[in-house]
């Protein structure tokens, strides 16, 4: 029995066993947080209009699948769910227990993976010949994926969230082992290796000790460690120490940069709020090490500070430090907030949001179990309303609109182009003028507005930052699909997308075949049921008709035509909004 068959079987099984009216579900979360009254606001009150609740079941399953598994539902799943609309709860439960869900839940912790700054790695390797040799684009990508792999593994083991800071290992790929000064050490029961920190004298701080995570911190030179430390603390605690007065010595009452700075700073809250409370934490992080976090601050008067409050301070042992971090409620609160915002795709801002966060936090602190947390969030009235409620009934509430974010793009690309990742779409096909021997790597980082990479991400809902780049991404995905699926040897039966047009270059496809292919792809990607005579399909067919004119060979013409048809589908609101 294939895994797809298994899934269908399980869905059908649950469909038969666990019938529950979806309207009831929307009013009664499957795990009601702490038995407290759910926050009731205009934005979080479920719709009671049965007609609207049942209005668009295919869109509902699309949302659940994209949110909880980061992928599009198969047509079989959509079909089954549509026929068995009662099974929302069992379906949700099923989704949360799958392997895909482990990955999806790991990606919700964007603090641990989302700020990708390969420059740091370049600088790291610049001083180490062995690392420089080993650092290919592929290994860099894999290295940056280490934290998320580790997190995914811990979630799959139902480990407490706190343990991600106290685990003595990171998962790693064989090609990234050299970054950890390792050759190969077999890890837990996954297809990756493991690096044990005790073997290489690195602090035991769980995934925070991984190179991948540290590489995500913005520091562009050795003198920027202070920024890295501040950013690490900000990412972990959701607290900003970059207040207007934090480093304004004038406002702190310090007139000159001499020893008076020390005496004032050591008792001034704008200094000590960060330096005292988080000094140990910042200094414990690898590459933000020891005195550099304060040196820059202290250099205003080296002599004064050489005998200052931090001189000779002995830091906690790595294990103690790890425990300190894992027990810090600010960190778990921050992580909760991040996960909720990632799922809701909006900032938590209203008073009702704070109530909801409080309820979730109480349950979260009981178990620190990520799976339970996600389960609680999707059982909340807000999520239930977003997914199952009628958008029309909550006018002026933007939260009902969900947009393809990085996780959804990533999952989608994996579905149709298994050989690619969102981080790099390797463009090496003649159709776009790149030579096979010299592939151009387009990191996702290049597609994202710079401010996202520099730490402003808290301002945005996670998905929003990618909308500016959606067109670029769509073109690249479409390019990669046609390069993969249309060639002199390509057989239609082996294609994942263009399976309804003829073998090889598909240039001679009839208008019926083309329209069928367009409507097949449209329906699969949008979860809509559109016939090939629909006006949208006709409109897309006009894109095909125009684009097929461009190119010098049949293959070029066909690739061009399908590239723009697929791009058009990928930028359509019916696809990008879910």
């Amino acid at each position: 029995m294939t895994s797809r068959t298994w899934k269908i079987f399980i869905i059908v099984f649950f469909s038969l066993q666990c019938g529950k009216d979806i309207e009831t579900l929307s009013k009664t979360p499957q795990k009601k947080p702490n038995n407290s009254a759910a926050p009731t606001t205009a934005s979080s009150t479920p719709s009671k209009n049965k007609d609207t609740v049942y209005k668009n079941p295919s869109r509902q399953i699309r949302r659940l699948t994209l949110d909880l598994q980061n992928r599009l539902p198969s047509s079989e799943e959509t079909e089954i769910y549509t026929r068995n609309i009662d099974t929302a709860e069992s379906l949700t439960t099923f989704f949360l227990k799958s392997n895909d869900a482990d990955s999806a839940m790991a990606t919700l912790h964007r603090n641990f993976w989302d700020l990708w700054q390969p420059k740091t790695l370049e600088q790291l390797s610049a001083t180490d010949a062995a690392l420089r040799t080993a650092m290919t684009t592929a290994s860099t990508d894999l290295l940056l994926d280490d934290p998320i792999k580790t997190l995914r593994f811990m979630i799959s083991q139902d480990e407490s969230f706190e343990k991600i800071f106290t685990k003595k290992y990171s998962l790693m790929e064989p090609s990234t082992a050299i970054f950890y000064n390792q050759t190969s050490a077999q890890g837990p029961d996954v297809d990756t290796n493991v690096v044990v920190y005790s073997d290489i004298s690195r602090p035991n701080l769980g995934i925070l000790s991984s190179f991948g995570w540290n590489a995500s911190l913005p520091k562009t030179s050795g003198s920027k460690n202070y920024s890295g430390a501040a950013e690490a603390i900000r990412k972990l605690t959701c607290l900003s120490f970059n207040s207007a007065t934090a480093h304004n010595f004038g406002q702190a009452g310090i007139k000159t940069v001499d020893s008076s700075l020390l005496s004032t700073a050591s008792s001034h809250s704008s200094c000590t709020s960060c330096h005292n409370q988080f000094h140990t934490l910042a200094e414990g992080l690898p590459y933000l090490s020891s005195s550099t976090t304060l040196t820059n601050w202290l250099t205003y008067d080296q002599n004064a500070f050489s005998s200052g409050i931090y001189k000779g301070k002995s830091y906690l042992t790595p294990d103690e430090l790890a425990n300190l971090i894992s027990a810090d409620s600010r960190i778990s609160s921050c992580e909760l907030e991040n996960v909720v915002e990632e799922i809701f795709q909006r900032k938590l801002s209203s008073l009702a949001d704070q109530d909801l966060k409080q309820i979730l936090f109480e349950r979260w602190t009981e178990s620190k179990n990520v799976r339970n947390l996600v389960s609680d969030i999707i059982a909340s009235p807000e999520y239930q309303h977003q997914v199952f409620g009628s958008a029309g009934s909550i006018t002026n509430n933007l939260s009902s609109v969900r947009v393809f974010g990085p996780a959804q793009w990533d999952g989608f690309i994996k579905q149709i182009l298994p050989q690619y990742t969102i981080r790099n779409l390797v463009l090496q096909n003649p159709a776009i003028g790149k030579s096979a021997g010299n592939p151009e790597i387009i990191p996702l980082a290049n597609l994202v507005p710079r401010q996202r990479l520099n730490g402003y991400e808290k301002q945005f809902i996670p998905s929003e930052i990618y909308t500016q780049s959606a067109f670029d991404l769509a073109v690249r995905i479409a390019d990669a699909v046609v390069a993969t699926e249309l060639s002199s040897t390509a057989l239609a039966q082996n294609r994942k997308v263009l399976s309804s047009v003829p073998d090889f270059d598909a240039f001679g496809a009839t208008s019926t075949e083309v329209k069928n292919q367009i409507s097949d792809t449209w329906n699969k990607w949008t979860s809509l049921k559109t016939t090939s005579s629909d006006y949208r399909i006709s409109k897309l067919y006009s894109v095909y008709s125009e684009s097929i004119q461009t190119g010098s060979t049949d293959l070029e013409k066909a690739r061009n035509a399908w590239k723009w048809v697929l791009t058009s589908i990928l930028i359509a609101p019916e696809f990008i909004i879910y």
Partner: protein, 396 residues
């Protein structure tokens, strides 16, 4: 009599201009050292300087040194249109360069508020496709972020090399499908606000890409390309305000210099002022010079003292340079004290002895510039006192 004259000047300054000026902002990232060009401190002990000599032309004073001939060339030629502001307090000395950038761009580190230029652009150029165009510059989020568009020169280069010709039918499809979604015809039944944002982004992607991709000139430096794109966008009424970066990100951060602080900043200043001279000639030849303001700003200043690495740490007081035909230049406003901190002054009359003395901040400067378009940030910013001293004519 002097006060009366100043008040008249003030009233005149607030009067509306027929067409609001376009603004070109040049970001010098990382923090320049004002003592090397803008304020001579070579005669003050306790401040490490690069020497040179104070020079004056048409009322404008600057630090002249033979190793920076382009500074002299620019200042001499453009003195009557140039204003230097010294002792400007940026709040920029923070934990990260982005925070420092926010300090100069909007004078507050909160991410909730928009930056000055986007606010201005949203007020006076709301009808343009890109009210505020940022090229390789930090976009500061806020209420008006839909009014700004971030463009990366690398993207323009890539678009040029890819020669991506988007078929008209794809643009048609995109417009059509989003209009359907907005009108509820597509079956999405979703809120329109976010769809509108997506629509705007898609339209920009589809319509601006071919516009910008044709603007990259490999024969020019990156800065000149950014400037050319900005000026072309002005001329084609694509944008009203543009913010561009000079040089590389954080290039002026000489905290840990490879050679020495002064050597590196000397090279950077020489390059900057050489480019500014080129820029002014481009502005003139583009027929934009009659109604444009050029702002050259740095997010930070640099510490009065050298550190152990031979560099200078960041410092919250800095300088700013303005160029425009819209005012009488040839003046230096504000000053640094002997500790290289700003000297509090009256933003209206420029007095440092009496009156309502404050530390000059970007708030005051930009409020004054925006007053040329009859805009008052009162009610939007916390401290809207416009530094009208900028526009005072010399007492007859």
């Amino acid at each position: 009599m002097k006060i009366l004259f100043s008040l008249l000047t003030l009233i005149f300054s607030y009067s509306a201009l027929a067409v609001p000026p376009k603004i070109l902002v040049i970001n010098v990232e990382g923090g320049w050292d004002p003592t090397m060009v803008f304020d001579y401190k070579g005669d003050i002990g306790g401040i490490a300087t690069d020497g040179g000599a104070l020079t004056t032309s048409s009322g404008l004073s600057w630090v002249s040194k033979s190793s920076r001939p382009s500074v002299d060339t620019f200042m001499t030629a453009e003195a009557t249109k140039t204003i230097i502001i010294n002792g400007l307090y940026t709040k920029g000395i923070g934990a990260s360069d982005t925070i420092a950038q926010m300090g100069i761009a909007k004078q507050r580190t909160s991410e909730v508020y928009t930056d000055y230029m986007t606010w201005y652009a949203s007020q006076v150029f709301p009808y343009l496709t890109i009210p505020h165009l940022l090229i390789d510059s930090p976009s500061v989020p806020g209420e008006f972020q839909g009014k700004s568009y971030q463009l990366k020169l690398d993207d323009v280069k890539r678009w040029t090399s890819e020669s991506l010709q988007v078929p008209a039918s794809v643009s048609d499809w995109s417009n059509w499908s989003y209009e359907n979604a907005l009108s509820g015809k597509s079956g999405t039944n979703l809120d329109t606000t976010k769809i509108s944002t997506l629509y705007l982004n898609q339209k920009r992607n589809l319509s601006l890409r071919p516009v910008f991709s044709g603007l990259y000139n490999p024969a020019l430096s990156d800065f000149k390309n950014r400037a050319s794109i900005a000026l072309t966008s002005f001329k084609n009424n694509l944008t009203g305000v543009a913010t561009i970066r000079h040089g590389k990100p954080d290039e002026w951060n000489t905290r840990s210099p490879g050679t020495s602080h002064f050597t590196e900043q000397n090279t950077l200043y020489e390059s900057l002022f050489s480019d500014l001279t080129w820029l002014i000639s481009e502005i003139v030849s583009s027929d934009l010079s009659d109604n444009i303001v050029v702002v050259v700003r740095s997010n930070l200043g640099r510490n009065p003292l050298l550190n152990a690495q031979g560099g200078k740490n960041p410092w919250p007081y800095t300088s700013l340079l303005l160029w425009s035909k819209l005012w009488t230049g040839g003046k230096v406003v504000g000053q640094f004290d002997s500790n290289l901190m700003g000297v509090p002054m009256d933003p209206i009359f420029g007095s440092t002895g009496t009156g309502n003395k404050i530390y000059l901040t970007p708030d005051n400067i930009f409020a004054a510039i925006f007053s040329r378009a009859s805009l008052s940030p009162s009610g939007f910013w916390l401290t809207p006192d416009p530094a009208m001293v900028l526009f005072q004519e010399a007492t007859p």
